[in-house]
């Protein structure tokens, strides 16, 4: 005869729940601390320096609920994504050319390194002098500031591909398209997703600078308005729009990573 304790099944469940709460607490705690410090400061400093986060929250709701203001957020998001996509396509093509030809690599590498040294603000100035259209100016700035990183990251991914695996796939005599589909794309995908994650943060900072100087709409433009009004709650609310966007896209990229890269072995011992 065997007996089963009613506690036997509930104990692991309780432990799992506790672990989940602990994980959530660990990830939320830093934000809670920052919020509390800010809110505490708002009790002692003038509103234009440290506004209450409740005010900031309502300003965020205003932005979400107002069509005109939310259109500014969407315009900025579109500019970031268009700039990143442009830089990724051009950077990916350059990386392919560089990996195929040493001469192209020797020619392009110094130029891209030079571009990396040019501050984003300089590209803003160049774009204003060279181009008339606001959207093209911003697109140009976004592409030029993220192009070197994308190119070098894709180049590194292509060069880091396993020679053994490449040789194995070659032994089956694939067409170029099949070689790309079965070998190159899956091999470089992890590095490409990392490149997008890194460049997304860079692009969201650059777009604000570009809009601040050269645009008539968008989060950067709205931030300039808040600065002129000395409206810190507004400035924070507009900044948070970009932060939310970056967090959502980063979350989506992480979700893709977790789904696509489930083939990876996970060690029980962390680094």
């Amino acid at each position: 005869m065997s007996e089963t304790s009613p506690q036997a099944g509930s104990a692991p469940r309780a432990n799992a729940l506790l672990a989940a709460v602990r994980r959530l607490g660990t990830s939320v705690l830093p934000f809670v601390v920052v919020i509390l410090i800010w809110q505490f400061a708002s009790l002692f400093f003038p509103r234009f320096l440290f506004p209450s986060l409740i005010d900031v929250f309502w300003r965020c709701i205003d932005i979400f609920s107002s069509g005109a203001m939310f259109a500014d957020v969407l315009a900025t998001i579109f500019r970031i994504l268009a700039g990143l996509a442009g830089a990724f396509i051009v950077g990916g093509a350059l990386a392919l050319l560089m990996v195929r030809s040493r001469a192209v690599d020797n020619f392009l590498s110094p130029i891209l390194t030079l571009f990396q040294g040019i501050p984003a603000l300089s590209w803003v100035v160049f774009a204003i002098i060279w181009f008339h259209g606001v959207e093209f100016r911003i697109f140009f700035i976004m592409v030029m500031t993220t192009l070197p990183a994308f190119t070098f990251q894709v180049l590194g991914a292509l060069r880091g591909m396993s020679r053994d695996l490449m040789e194995m796939v070659f032994s089956f005599r694939p067409t170029r398209l099949k070689l790309f589909r079965v070998m190159i794309a899956p091999a470089i995908l992890p590095d490409i997703l990392t490149a997008w994650k890194v460049n997304l943060g860079n692009a969201s900072r650059v777009v604000v600078v570009a809009e601040l100087v050269g645009a008539t709409g968008g989060v950067g433009y709205e931030l300039l308005q808040q600065q002129q009004l000395f409206d810190m709650a507004g400035a924070l609310a507009w900044t948070l729009q970009l932060v939310f966007f970056v967090l959502i896209v980063q979350g989506a990229l992480t979700l893709i990573e977790n789904t696509v890269f489930r083939y990876r072995a996970v060690s029980e011992r962390a680094i």
Partner: protein, 256 residues
């Protein structure tokens, strides 16, 4: 005991093949293969034996069409495997020293790889891959990723991948050297049975005399740079005493 194959009959024909790495004539030039002549008849299982660095893998790569000879002629089924690279799609299969499975593909997807290159319809591809995995004792592991399989299981998948395309020529580069002796022994026996059953022509690179005697029906021993030092053919009728003589002779050649 020397095997006579006329070039016209040969499945693999190497005529005065030389391979030099580095710029020919320069101080850094390194001659790996030196005027090698070798013919392998259809259905033959040739074991290429030699010390490390004697050019076995270079010969292997030239037969596979992955490397071009510096001089001489390489022909597989009458054609140049390097120049006519694409025409050998599905005709040459390779089992490498390590399994070389694509980590992002499951076992069955890895076996399907060669069939995908041959544009085999998905259902047929899946059925063929399943059949070979089952033949190699991997039923139930079709959807496991390589990291979840043991070294022996991974090498079985790579053998299944090579057999699935039904290629006439099978090239094997020390495929069992990374496995423990017990697993290697079992796989070797299975492998030999499958090659014979399916009438493949196989070139099997090894540095183990015992493995060469167990697998091959012909053994070619190479000296450095790759040139034939000893060439012997035998069959199932070859007695133990004669095999020991062959072993001893190979040992002498390798000791030089």
């Amino acid at each position: 005991m020397r095997d006579i194959v006329t070039p016209g009959d040969a499945a693999i024909h190497l005529d005065h093949v030389t391979k030099v790495f580095g710029k020919a004539g320069s101080a850094t030039a390194y001659r790996v293969v030196d005027g090698l002549n070798l013919d392998v008849r259809p259905g033959q299982m040739l074991a290429l034996l030699g010390k490390t660095g004697c050019g076995k893998s270079t010969i292997f790569n030239m037969i596979a069409g992955l490397t071009e000879p510096t001089s001489g002629t390489v022909r597989v089924s009458g054609r140049d495997p390097f120049a006519d690279f694409d025409s050998f799609r599905g005709r040459i299969a390779i089992v490498f020293q390590n399994d070389r499975l694509l980590p992002w593909r499951t076992a069955i997807q890895n076996v399907e790889l060669g069939l995908e290159m041959l544009e085999v319809p998905a259902a047929e591809r899946r059925a063929t891959a399943q059949l070979w995995l089952t033949k190699l004792g991997l039923g139930g592991h079709e959807h496991d990723y390589p990291h979840a399989l043991s070294g022996g299981m991974r090498q079985r998948v790579s053998i299944a991948r090579a057999f699935a395309t039904n290629a006439n020529i099978l090239l094997c580069d020390e495929p069992f050297s990374a496995l423990d002796e017990s697993t290697a022994g079992k796989l070797r026996a299975e492998f030999t049975r499958l090659v014979k059953e399916n009438g493949k022509t196989a070139v099997f690179i090894t540095h183990s005399i015992s493995e060469a005697l167990e697998i091959g029906d012909r053994i070619v021993v190479l000296k450095r740079p790759a040139k034939i030092a000893y060439d012997v053919s035998f069959d199932t009728g070859t007695g133990q005493e004669e095999r020991e003589l062959i072993r001893s002779r190979i040992g002498d050649v390798l000791a030089v």
